[in-house]
C-alpha cells in the first residue's frame, strides 16, 4: 500500500513555481481583504477565522509542495492543481451548507422576534386603551370642577 502510494507520488507532476506564486498571491489577497472588511466593521471576527485559516492552508500547500503532491496521489489525481480546485469546491460546498444552517436559525429567530414585537405592541395598545378608559371619568370630573375654580380666581 505504502509502496503503491510512493509510486503514485512519483507519477504526480510537481507544482510549477508560477502556480506556487499565484497560490501564495491569492492567499495573501484573501488575508488582506478579510482584514480590510474587519477594519470597516463589515465582517465580524467570528466569521473571519475560516477565511484566514483557508488562506494559511493554501499558503502551506504552495510552500510545501510535497503535501499537495501526496494528497493528489492519495485521491488519484495526476495534477496538484486539479486537487487544489477539487478541494476548494468541497470546502465551498461545506461552507455554503453551514451558512444555510445558520441562515435557517437566524430566520427562525428573526420571525420569532417579529412576532413578539407585534404581540407586545398589541398588548401596549390594549393597556393604553384600558388606562384611557379608567381615566376618562376622572377627566370628566376634573372638567366639571374647572369652571368653579375659574370663578374663584376671577372673584
Amino acid at each position: 500500500m505504502i509502496a503503491d502510494l510512493a509510486h503514485a507520488v512519483a507519477d504526480v507532476a510537481p507544482l510549477l513555481d508560477r502556480q506556487r506564486y499565484v497560490a501564495l498571491g491569492v492567499a495573501a489577497a484573501v488575508v488582506v481583504v478579510v482584514f480590510e472588511l474587519m477594519r470597516r466593521r463589515k465582517l465580524r471576527e467570528e466569521y473571519s477565522w475560516v477565511w484566514v485559516a483557508t488562506a494559511a492552508f493554501v499558503a502551506v500547500l504552495a510552500l510545501e509542495g510535497n503535501v499537495l503532491t501526496a494528497i493528489s496521489a492519495f485521491v488519484g489525481s495526476s495534477s496538484p492543481v486539479w486537487t487544489l480546485f477539487f478541494g476548494a469546491m468541497v470546502f465551498l460546498l461545506a461552507l455554503a451548507l453551514q451558512f444555510s444552517v445558520r441562515l435557517s436559525r437566524l430566520t427562525h429567530r428573526h420571525r420569532t422576534l417579529g412576532q413578539r414585537v407585534a404581540l407586545l405592541e398589541a398588548e401596549i395598545q390594549r393597556l393604553r386603551e384600558q388606562d384611557a378608559g379608567e381615566r376618562a371619568p376622572e377627566r370628566r370630573a376634573g372638567e366639571r370642577a374647572t369652571p368653579n375654580r375659574a370663578r374663584d380666581i376671577v372673584a
Binding site: H108, R111, T112, G114, Q115, R116, A118, L119, A122, R126
Partner: protein, 245 residues
C-alpha cells in the same frame, strides 16, 4: 382571565376586503373577539380592520401566512381564550358558516375543519390545486383514519387543548395544513369536518399560485415524510412566542 372565543383573521394586502369580513363576522352575534393579524401589509389593511371593529396585531414586516396564524394563536393563548376560530381575509370564507364551527367545537371536537367539498358547491379552482388537494386529502385521511376532504382549508375552529399544541415553536411558517392535521391526530386531538360554503376570492393574491404550488407539494411531502422521525423544536425560553416574558 378567561375569555370565550377569538376569531383570528390573518391578512396581507387586504385593505379592500378585510373591513367587510370583520363586520360580517361581528354581525353573526356569536360574541366573538375579532383579531386581525396584519402580516406587514404595505397598504391600509390594519386601519381598515381596526375601523371595522377588530383588534389588530401588526407584524413589523411580512412573515408569511403560517407566522401570522401562529401570532394569532399565541395572542389567543396569552389572553386565555377558551376556543379559537380562524378564517381568511379575502372573502372566500363565509362568516355565516362560523356557527357550524362553533357547534362542532361545542360537540367536543378539538379541531374543526370547514370543508368546501362536503357542501358540494365548491368554487372552481385550478387543475394543479385540485390535484394537490386530492392527494393531500387522501394522505391525511389515511394517516388520521377519518375522511378528510379539504386539508388545505384555512376555515377552522380549535379548542383550548388544540391551541396548546399549535402555540409551540414548531408550527410551520408556510402552508400549515395537512402536516398540522396529522400532528393534531398524533397529539390525540379529536378532528372533525363540517360542510361550509366558500366563495371565489374577492381579490388579492392566493398563496397557492403558479410555481408556488410545486413548492407547496414538495414542502408538504417532505414535512410529512420527516414527521415521524423529526426532533421536536427545542423550546428555548427566549425563543418562545407563546410565553409571557
Amino acid at each position: 382571565m378567561s375569555k370565550t372565543t377569538a376569531l383570528i383573521i390573518p391578512a396581507y394586502r387586504e385593505a379592500e376586503r378585510v373591513g367587510a369580513v370583520v363586520r360580517s363576522a361581528l354581525a353573526q352575534g356569536l360574541g366573538l373577539d375579532v383579531i386581525v393579524v396584519d402580516d406587514g401589509s404595505p397598504d391600509e389593511t390594519a386601519q381598515a380592520a381596526r375601523a371595522a371593529g377588530a383588534t389588530v396585531i401588526s407584524h413589523p414586516y411580512n412573515l408569511g401566512y403560517g407566522c401570522a396564524l401562529h401570532t394569532g394563536y399565541c395572542h389567543a393563548w396569552r389572553q386565555g381564550y377558551e376556543r379559537l376560530l380562524q378564517m381568511d381575509a379575502d372573502g372566500q370564507h363565509d362568516p355565516a358558516m362560523l356557527p357550524r364551527l362553533v357547534d362542532a367545537l361545542d360537540r367536543g371536537a378539538d379541531v374543526v375543519l370547514g370543508s368546501r367539498y362536503l357542501a358540494g358547491d365548491a368554487p372552481p379552482t385550478s387543475f394543479a390545486k385540485r390535484t394537490a388537494t386530492k392527494m393531500f386529502a387522501s394522505i391525511a385521511s389515511r394517516w388520521t383514519g377519518m375522511r378528510i376532504t379539504d386539508p388545505t382549508s384555512g376555515f377552522q375552529g380549535l379548542s383550548r387543548r388544540a391551541l396548546e399544541c399549535v402555540v409551540n415553536d414548531g408550527f410551520p411558517e408556510d402552508y400549515p395544513d395537512t402536516d398540522v392535521l396529522v400532528q393534531h391526530h398524533r397529539a390525540g386531538l379529536k378532528l372533525a369536518e363540517v360542510p361550509v360554503r366558500m366563495h371565489i376570492r374577492q381579490g388579492g393574491l392566493s398563496m397557492h399560485r403558479g410555481a408556488r404550488i410545486a413548492y407547496y407539494g414538495y414542502k408538504m411531502l417532505l414535512t410529512l415524510m420527516l414527521l415521524p422521525i423529526r426532533r421536536p423544536t427545542p423550546l428555548r425560553a427566549r425563543d418562545t412566542v407563546a410565553r409571557w416574558s
